[in-house]
């Protein structure tokens, strides 16, 4: 792994950012018991940094490290899988894998397979109705509107409910998307239908994409090899695209869209096309 050179000022800046993150962890640990917390770990650079800071914090304070939770949408990169298994073991992290087995089965574990709503269990059917989807079938694609809800949101909510989780740590950052710019360090999510009440902590909001890479490189935090291959942002395998044949940290982070390679914006794109008279 390349050890980068940073100016002393820059290192100080990053150390201050890490310290700020630890403050957020501090708040969380004051409000909740470790057993009621989970760290959400996708294997991506942001959640891995969050986990690494949390580990440091827990080691410094001599407290138990919370369990981690990851979601398998059924369209994962093998490399992410391997990365998570490797470091969960190396760092002694108890990692739980969540998946919507019911949907996966109905789709025959095949991407793009058509899933009949009527084949799904009651919970999933109710969830589909809840998001206003009223067709009889949908294609099994993780990052579509229905897919995203069932494979991620529902799995998340079900897990929280079953394990009585009260607080989660997310690796979100302000500069990821314009809409994020106002996210607070912690947010109390009230209980609504099928979603238990919980608090979300975001300890690395103030890190920019560049900060994450500089910190990762400087402190030699492990990262998934896909980033070296050119992926800037990692989501479902079929919808994440390499942005260039350059390692992520060498790309023009400041002027190009981080999430440009993700297909989460399918609905947004379709809406624009509709407004322009194409659909």
């Amino acid at each position: 792994m390349p050890k980068i050179e940073l100016s002393t000022d820059r290192v100080k800046e990053l150390e201050e950012k890490i310290a700020k993150s630890k403050e957020v962890f501090g708040q969380a640990f004051e409000g909740f018991e470790v057993k009621d917390m989970r760290l959400i770990w996708s294997g991506g650079k942001d959640s891995t940094l969050t986990l690494w800071i949390c580990r440091q914090y827990c080691q410094e304070k001599g407290i138990e490290f919370p369990k981690a939770f990851t979601i398998d949408e059924g369209d994962a990169f093998k490399e992410i899988d391997v990365f998570l298994h490797t470091y969960a073991k190396d760092w002694g992290v108890e990692l739980y894998w969540g998946r919507n087995e019911d949907v996966l089965k109905a789709a025959g574990y095949t991407l793009d397979a058509e899933v009949q709503v009527s084949d799904l269990n009651q919970r999933n059917q109710t969830e589909i109705k809840r998001i206003g989807f009223d067709l009889e079938a949908f294609p099994f694609e993780a990052e579509s509107y229905v897919g995203n809800h069932l494979m991620k949101t529902v799995v998340f909510n079900t897990y929280l409910e079953e394990n009585k989780v009260k607080a989660v740590f997310q690796g979100l950052r302000w500069d990821e998307q314009k809409a994020r710019a106002k996210d607070p360090y912690f947010e109390d999510v009230p209980a609504v239908e099928l979603t238990p009440a919980h608090t979300r902590y975001r300890p690395i909001l103030h890190f920019t994409e560049r900060d994450v890479w500089d910190t990762t490189m400087y402190f030699e935090i492990p990262y998934c090899p896909l980033y070296r291959q050119g992926y800037r942002s990692l989501g479902a395998k079929t919808t994440s695209q390499k942005m260039a044949e350059l390692p992520a940290w060498e790309q023009d982070l400041e002027n190009t869209e981080e999430r440009a390679g993700r297909r989460q914006d399918k609905e947004k794109t379709m809406e624009r096309l509709r407004q322009l008279g194409y659909m």
Binding site: D265, K268, Y278
Partner: protein
């Protein structure tokens, strides 16, 4: 050439520009560039709508060259990638600024660019479902602030202001026809009730739509002027060659329809193309039949780089060496604002004054003598001797579409 700018304006009719004979004076700035430009009078796009046309403009390939899929095939090379490959350590900084969803990261057009703005992260509304030329210009301005203009630049700017819905600001409507009184909501209703269903039946309504479109032309002219001022401000204009063109035109009832569907008539595929500050031919007109396909090779050539094996077109320069050949176009022959699964391809081939069109769904051939019938009103497929010969030229391309 040190810098190259590709400046494309969506849905720009050739006959909207004074350069091509429009007497309404909608484009004074663009017209003023004539003396510094090489004007192409017979430029053709490879398709009549964006999704099928831009593979020509940016990858020098045709729409059906690869199986139909949302993302641009990795088998195609985008000009941004070709520049990176060819320039190596010479380093050409590339940037793209546009607001057409079909050219967004989602559709794979962001490959290879150093900077890529597709506006998908920004909010738009129904009245103006794109980022305006003015806002695009601002982003170009900011980018030029940050970039090292000592290095070569390739900038692609694409405006959407002439694209439907036609909802221009009143200041522009006034320049076209000051008697028009219409609210933005009414203009949007026209879009939904007339343009979307392609209802060209009422001549007065079509004329009104045409005027609203012309108001946007006037707007685009203003934005273009602003863009050139920005380039000048950053001291890159003098060392730039600017290629200005469109991906297709727009129909106003010429063949019974509106907007830009899968039809191969001239109002859609015979496009404007100006090269401002060209390496040769400044102040002149080129009447050679050229294709959008030729733009990527031309761009490479302008930078003094070798041709790319994936580019099917040829550089336009030197003009005397450009071998005139026929031009082709192909797209899904949809006649509706939506593409249906049952829609089949449509093709055209033009050589000299003859143009043949084939629609697979109806299994129908058409032939036009563009010298004597530029508006393509008289189908000569059954009467002209040329018919068979021209058909034979197009036949090999038919059926290449992958289902």
């Amino acid at each position: 050439m040190k810098h190259v700018v590709l400046f494309t304006i969506d849905a720009l009719r050739r006959d909207a520009l004074g350069v091509y004979g429009n007497s309404r004076g909608l484009t004074p700035f663009l017209d003023s560039l004539t003396s510094d430009s090489l004007v192409f009078t017979q430029a053709h796009s490879v398709a009549p709508y964006t999704q099928a046309s831009f593979p020509g403009i940016l990858t020098s390939s045709y729409f059906f060259d690869t199986p139909r899929a949302p993302k641009l095939s990795l088998k195609r090379t985008i000009i941004s990638e070709a520049l990176k490959e060819a320039a190596g350590t010479q380093g050409i900084t590339t940037a793209a600024f546009h607001s057409n969803p079909y050219l967004s990261a989602y559709f794979g057009y962001n490959r290879g660019w150093d900077s890529f703005y597709d506006s998908m992260q920004d909010e738009v509304d129904d009245i103006s479902p794109y980022i305006t030329g003015e806002a695009i210009n601002e982003r170009v301005d900011r980018w030029l602030d940050t970039v090292d203009t000592g290095r070569s630049l390739f900038l692609w700017v694409h405006y959407m202001d002439t694209h439907e819905p036609y909802v221009p600001d009143c200041q522009y409507i006034e320049q076209v026809d000051s008697s028009i009184q219409i609210s933005k909501e009414e203009m949007l209703t026209l879009f939904k009730e007339v343009v979307l269903p392609r209802d060209a039946g009422n001549t007065e309504t079509v004329q009104l739509l045409s005027k609203l479109y012309q108001a946007h032309i006037s707007e685009v002219n203003t934005c273009a002027k602003q863009l050139f001022e920005i380039l000048e401000k950053h001291k890159v204009l003098t060392d730039s060659t600017v290629i200005m063109t469109t991906d297709h035109g727009e129909e106003f009832g010429e063949h019974g329809g509106l907007s830009h569907d899968g039809k191969m008539y001239s109002e859609l595929v015979h496009v404007p193309q100006l090269i401002i500050n060209p390496p040769e031919g400044k102040g002149g007109r080129c009447n050679t039949l050229v294709s959008g396909l030729d733009l990527p090779p031309t761009i490479l050539d302008l930078f003094g780089l070798e041709p790319h094996e994936n580019f099917q077109g040829t550089s336009l320069f030197p003009l005397l060496e450009y071998q005139e050949k026929g031009v082709y176009g192909e797209a899904v022959g949809k006649l509706d604002h939506k593409i249906k699964d049952t829609d089949r391809p449509a093709y055209y081939y033009r050589e000299g004054k003859w143009k043949v069109i084939y629609r697979q769904e109806e299994d129908r051939w058409e032939l036009y003598d563009l010298e004597n019938d530029p508006e393509e009103k008289v189908d000569r497929i059954d009467s002209a001797q040329e018919a068979q010969k021209t058909k034979e030229k197009l036949k090999p391309r038919i059926g290449r579409e992958y289902l």
